[in-house]
């Protein structure tokens, strides 16, 4: 008798489980929006795909670091651009605390390193080699740095280890930390006026590539352990004596309750994957063509139906 009740109960549970698989919750899926274009458009693209999938979607503007805490709490459902370099630390910290899951990588790779706009090459023709950069350090000097060159690094909280690298490779550069991404652009924008040579922190995929063509400085290639083992890299006594990895991951993350609450949407999210050119195209629609993000997403979806149609049909 008892076993029978148990069996019916489990059968019922199974039935409801399949039922909920067929129909996602009608509560809105909350997609976070940050303050750079590719992420905003990609979020709109995925949001519209999910709407086509029959889900209810809402967007919320959040800080790109604080978002991981919100995902853990379930206030935000997913994050579409987890950059290895910029957000790896916050993401890993959230993973350890629990409440967030890794939903796989995009095809796109990311790179973050010292970068210069093309006009800099005229003043320092040996680029992109880092030794050549060091030889013309004085070209990058400013009032405050004296004879040494000035390198504008990303905000301290991005943990880019610019100072450590300058010391490890014995370079004639002073590292200044900008306070925000916008500060980096303002420096490049100011230098553009009279083609002043500058070297700043930058990354790809990024809108800046479309506005100011440029190149990354080629440091000694990244080897595993360069940030942990002094023996790795050209300087046997120092950490951070090589460039950043040229192929960092770009991940998707989600609240760990998502798979249960919106199974079909979660299945779509697992399939979502964009490439570098696709991401650049999305950013360009907003940054260069001056479209609003939702319009840009609509147009992108129209133009690239073959890319995303498959993600839905096989999901349901």
């Amino acid at each position: 008798m008892k076993t029978k009740i148990l069996m019916t109960a489990s059968a019922l549970a199974l039935a409801t489980a399949t039922a909920s698989y067929a129909a996602d919750s009608s509560d809105p899926i909350v997609i976070p929006i940050h303050n750079w274009s590719s992420q905003i458009v990609m979020s709109n693209v995925v949001g519209q795909i999910l709407e086509a999938n029959g889900n209810n979607v809402e967007y919320v503007t959040t800080d790109s670091q604080a978002v991981y805490e919100s995902i853990r709490l379930g206030d935000v459902t997913m994050e579409l651009e987890v950059w290895e370099g910029a957000f790896g630390a916050s993401f890993r910290a959230a993973l350890e605390k629990g409440g967030i899951v890794d939903v796989g990588d995009h095809d796109a790779v990311t790179r973050e390193d010292w970068w210069y706009p093309m006009w800099t090459k005229e003043a320092c023709p040996g680029l992109p080699d880092w030794k050549a950069l060091n030889d013309c350090a004085s070209v990058f000097a400013t009032a405050e740095t004296g004879d040494k060159g000035r390198y504008l690094d990303g905000p301290v909280d991005w943990l880019k280890h610019g100072k450590e690298r300058v010391e490890a490779l014995d370079m004639d550069f002073v590292v200044i930390n900008a306070g925000s991404a916008a500060a980096l652009w303002a420096e490049i924008g100011a230098a553009e006026a009279d083609k002043k040579p500058v070297v700043v922190f930058n990354w790809t995929p990024n809108f800046a590539e479309a506005v100011w063509p440029g190149e990354f400085v080629e440091f000694p290639a990244w080897e595993d352990g360069c940030d942990k083992d002094p023996a790795v890299g050209p300087n046997p006594d120092a950490l951070y004596d090589c460039g950043n990895p040229a192929t960092g991951y770009l991940k998707k993350a989600a609240w760990d309750g998502m798979a249960e609450k919106w199974p079909s949407a979660y299945a779509v999210l697992e399939k979502v994957s964009f490439t570098n050119p696709q991401i650049a195209e999305m950013a360009k629609k907003v940054d260069v063509d001056e479209l609003e993000p939702d319009e840009a997403a609509e147009i992108w979806l129209d133009e690239n139906e073959d890319v995303w149609k498959g993600w839905i049909s096989s999901g349901s």
Binding site: W36, A66, S180, A182, A186, G189, A190
Partner: protein, 657 residues
Amino acid sequence: MADIAAKLEQETGGLSKTRIVQILIGVAVLLILARPVLPDFLVRLPEAWIPPLADWLDAIFGFLIDDLKLTVLTRWFAEGPLDFMLGLTANLLEGKHRWPFIGPLPWSCVAAVAAVIGYYLGGWRLGLLGGGTFVWTALVGQWTIAMQTLSVLAVAAPLAFTIGLLMGIAAWKWDWFDRAVKPFLAILQTIPFFTYLLPAVIFFKVGPTAGAIATTIYAIPPMVLMTALGLKKVSPEIVEAGKMSGSTRWQMLTKVYLPSARTEILVGVNQVIMLCLAMVVLTAFIGMPGLGGKLLAMMNSFKLGRSFEIGVTIVLVAVMLDRFSKAWVVKLPEHFERGTSWFVQHKYLVAAIVGFLGFLLISQFIEILYEVGRRQSLSMGKEMDGLIKGFLAIDFVQWITGWIRYVLNVWVLIPFRNALLYIPTPAFIMLVVAFAYWLGGKRPAIFAAIFFSIVALSGWWDRSVITLYSVISAVVLSMFIGIPLGIAASRSEKWSTRILLLCDTAQTFPSFIYLLPAIMLFGVSDVTVVLSIVIFTTVPLTRYTIEGLRTVPPEMTEAADMSGATKRQKLLSVQLPLALPTMAVGFNQAIMFAFFMVIIAAFIGTQDLGQELQRTLAGTDLGKNFVLGMNVALMALTFDLTIMSWAQRRKEALGLG
């Protein structure tokens, strides 16, 4: 107050004030000179002595969240009533998919109603301002985002008003409440906004709810203070009259006290609105939708022109609401003859309804009155980008900015910073105490000693000193600009109004927008940080200089004229001394603004408390976040207490009340 100070002076055994100040400074100078041979613990507190304040605070928060389950209550509030109200306004204004599923209202309707309200409050000028603001917003293609912002403010401002009013009444009724709540408000007004953004997210969910709560908390203090002030000032005759007509206590409050305190309460309302608007951009970090979020996105993709346009919208909305609420303060309730028809009595309400319905109807047929699309909008973003970049490319501009950057950085700012950092911690505290004692007297000196000791114990001394360095540099620099500007402007009525309007604009224009052009002019350096603070600190200095000089009693200036004083003599020995207490208020406000702005300057690139605060936003370091915020608040409060106490005594001495 004065005789207490005298008594205390006697108790200190006849040591005169000057003597104490001299001793403090003397010891401090000795310590500085002896620094090379001082033991380490006298230069900076050793790490081991620093109590783990952040950990203790974390434990308290952990207890509140995990054991008391406080979040269950706050989350219920955020997801229940608050979300409902936000959904309601968001649906009506921007068409968010929430109950009652009516909106969005066509922009022309909103503009029409604003114009009628403006006309009612202050004639055709305000009518034009009200209508014009919304027409501009729609035409530059920012309607939806502006409505997102307003839909949150429409909840936050009334919430702040209600809570502030109730707290103000309580503070007036019960003395103990007043005493308990005052220090709280002082801290709330000086603590950096980053400090309550994080708790807002944890307790009230990222998004409009957290944005609304943070805005509300920020806007409450002046409402409490103004309400209490207004109620205390109600004249005894009115109270007597109320009692004689046999009012109950409730009637006394609602029919006698509150209407008599109307002016102060409405000034409070004005303050609430202004503070709400000041938070528009900052709350974007925790999910507030609308103008602020868009502004940050525009700045991060280096679109100066369009971020400038968003700034203009924010200023227009702020100026509109400011002028509306000020007009409401001076507008007296209208009274009609018995028998006047309802329509005449409510002619403005009728006009508003007619305007609203009329445009609602027309906009069904003429689409552009309903919604202005991106393609139709008149945004000039790209053109403005070109203009700004062209200006920066001019050789002369580059030469000037390069020169300023070199002189200020290499000869003034960096040496000054290094000098401040060189001073041993105890000597620094003594110097601050000496300053507070000399200017403010005993009480501020004691607080200065306590506050700066706490800062030293918090373990963030160097960063606090760098923060202070930016603040002092900026305030000193802006004195050279603001005070002469104020003196010059105060000579004529016309120029006073013009400069004051400029002050209003500079104050409400979102500070973030200054940052980018400032970086483009001076690069990421200390000059940029200090100059962007200067833009803010010059405003109150100019404003209060004008106000102080223009309110000098005419008898005094006439007396000076009669005794044959030259213009210069009159200014230096009559007007300025009399205006000084008022100017001190401006000076104090300048310092408060500087402490506010120095945190925002972290976005340029600094090594101070602001930078660390910005970093805590990323994580969940509630404890560290509070310690950092507290340091800023304590330093700001030291100056606040000192200067205000000086201004008060000075006013009494001059008989200016």
